[in-house]
């Protein structure tokens, strides 16, 4: 059973639909007890970082921290990945989980002298896939995934794959049981379903 955290941030239905398609059982929850006792957690999300304030307000932050410490596999999607960092300039007063170092920042208006459109919308390729990534097992470098976002996480030692748009940013992050993807696997065709399947089968 995968506990899917509902914090009113958009793409929950699509994520649940994709997980069901893969044969996974899900339970949509806002309960700290469910999260604390979970065997697997997905944190979806699309839209504004301030939506994650509800995670603190519902006492889900501490519950998530406890579950993660027990080794429970956790997958954050889009804003759900960003929440794993210290925070985002999109909502300065809302802290992230601080599991990974660094904060999320907006794409610059220009890059190397060229105007850079924002949001970054569309299919872009996964590069620098870390060979030890369990989430990205069987995903070929250069595979395309679907993005729609204006903020992104910095590249660090925990980065499991990068994508290039206005420089390199973290497409996927993974350290032991804690994983996140900036793209939308539930909207990334067969590649996205394979990534979700990898998580389901952990």
């Amino acid at each position: 059973m995968i506990q899917v955290i509902d914090y009113k941030a958009g793409n929950l239905t699509s994520v649940v639909k994709a997980l069901h398609f893969l044969g996974a059982e899900t339970h949509v929850t806002q309960s700290p007890a469910d999260v604390r006792n979970a065997t697997k957690i997905v944190l979806p999300g699309v839209g504004h970082f301030r939506a994650t304030q509800l995670l603190h307000d519902l006492q889900l932050t501490e519950a998530t921290r406890e579950a993660i410490a027990r080794g429970v596999p956790f997958l954050g999607i889009c804003v759900g990945l960003q929440w794993l960092y210290q925070g985002s300039t999109e909502a300065e007063s809302t802290d992230g989980l601080c599991h990974f170092g660094g904060a999320c920042d907006r794409f610059p208006a220009t890059y190397e002298g060229e105007l850079l459109k924002s949001p970054h919308v569309g299919w872009n390729s996964l590069e620098d896939i870390r060979p030890d990534s369990r989430l990205l097992r069987n995903i070929a470098p250069g595979s395309f995934v679907y993005y729609t976002h204006s903020w992104r996480a910095p590249v660090s030692a925990d980065t499991a794959a990068t994508t290039t748009y206005g420089g390199s940013f973290t497409a996927a992050v993974e350290r032991n049981n804690v994983m996140g993807v900036q793209f939308h696997p539930e909207k990334s065709g067969p590649t996205g379903l394979q990534i979700l399947r990898n998580f389901v089968e952990l």
């Binding site: 639909k17 839209g47 459109k117 976002h149 939308h184 539930e186 996205g192």
Partner: protein, 261 residues
């Protein structure tokens, strides 16, 4: 590298995909859910479903159609046509859409853009603009006019100004249809699209006039005569098997356009 998107559009009336030929006969092109899946398997990067009747009576049918279409569709899915309130948008999102496209209702009440964005994020709001060049003006593109109500009513608003305002109000993308090119299969209006694309910082989806692969090459091109579009939409060329997206995108790749293959 970020690729250029090829978007398949389904015009839906009373729960069926339809296509007008030379604006006269409406012919039945099939079931929306079935066609959406066929397009996804054939390499379309996104699906747009437009309810072209958009009557109040048809609302229930649309929601049911959106549900059925979204059920096993794992690529981005946009729904438009007759969305007048944030409440209408919410129903469509709950039925499984990732984005909504709003047109006449955004012109009538521009606050709608921000209202939908506040609940579902800017990325979920596409402002569709139906544009007609102003042939009497010294600069027919700068003076191009926005039309509403399915292209029937001029608004006296300039296309470029409205695109900028939509961006400032929080639109995530612009879907720009050239009424002059629409239905001709003679190519996109690259000059118009390039002008709007340069005026805004958000992605612009080109629509109207797609007939062959070369037209897509032109609309995606960043050369001085190119359309500088981020995505391009077509309907009829796909429905009857004239080409599919994989074949189209192979041609685009050969022409140097970055695409998802």
């Amino acid at each position: 590298m970020l690729t250029k998107r090829v978007i398949a559009c389904l015009d839906v009336r009373a729960g069926r995909v339809v296509k007008g030929i030379q604006f006269l006969d409406i012919i039945d092109a099939g079931d929306p859910a079935e066609l959406a899946h066929r397009h996804a398997a054939a390499g379309a990067d996104e699906i747009v479903l437009l309810d072209i009747t958009a009557t109040h009576e048809g609302r229930g049918t649309l929601i049911d159609t959106v549900k059925r279409t979204a059920a096993q569709l794992f690529i981005p899915f946009t729904v438009g046509g007759g969305i007048r309130t944030a409440h209408d948008a919410e129903a469509v999102f709950h039925a499984g859409a990732d984005k909504v496209s709003i047109n006449s209702a955004a012109i009538a009440r521009p606050d709608l853009i921000g209202e939908i964005g506040a609940s579902f994020g800017a990325q979920a709001v596409i402002v569709a603009i139906d544009a007609r060049r102003n042939p009497d003006a010294a600069d027919p593109i700068a003076e191009a006019e926005v039309y509403v109500s399915g292209g029937r009513k001029p608004t006296a608003r300039r296309v470029v100004d409205w695109a900028r305002e939509a961006e400032h109000r929080g639109a995530g993308e612009i879907l720009l249809t050239s009424m002059d090119a629409d239905g001709t299969r003679a190519g996109f209006d690259c000059d118009l699209i390039a002008r709007v694309s340069a005026a805004v910082q958000i992605p612009v989806i080109a629509s109207g006039g797609a007939g062959n692969a070369q037209h897509f090459v032109e609309v995606f091109s960043t050369a001085p005569n190119g359309g500088k579009a981020d995505a391009a939409l077509a309907a009829s060329i796909f429905h009857f098997g004239i080409t599919d997206s994989w074949a189209l995108k192979r041609d685009l790749k050969i022409a140097g356009i970055p695409v998802r293959l």
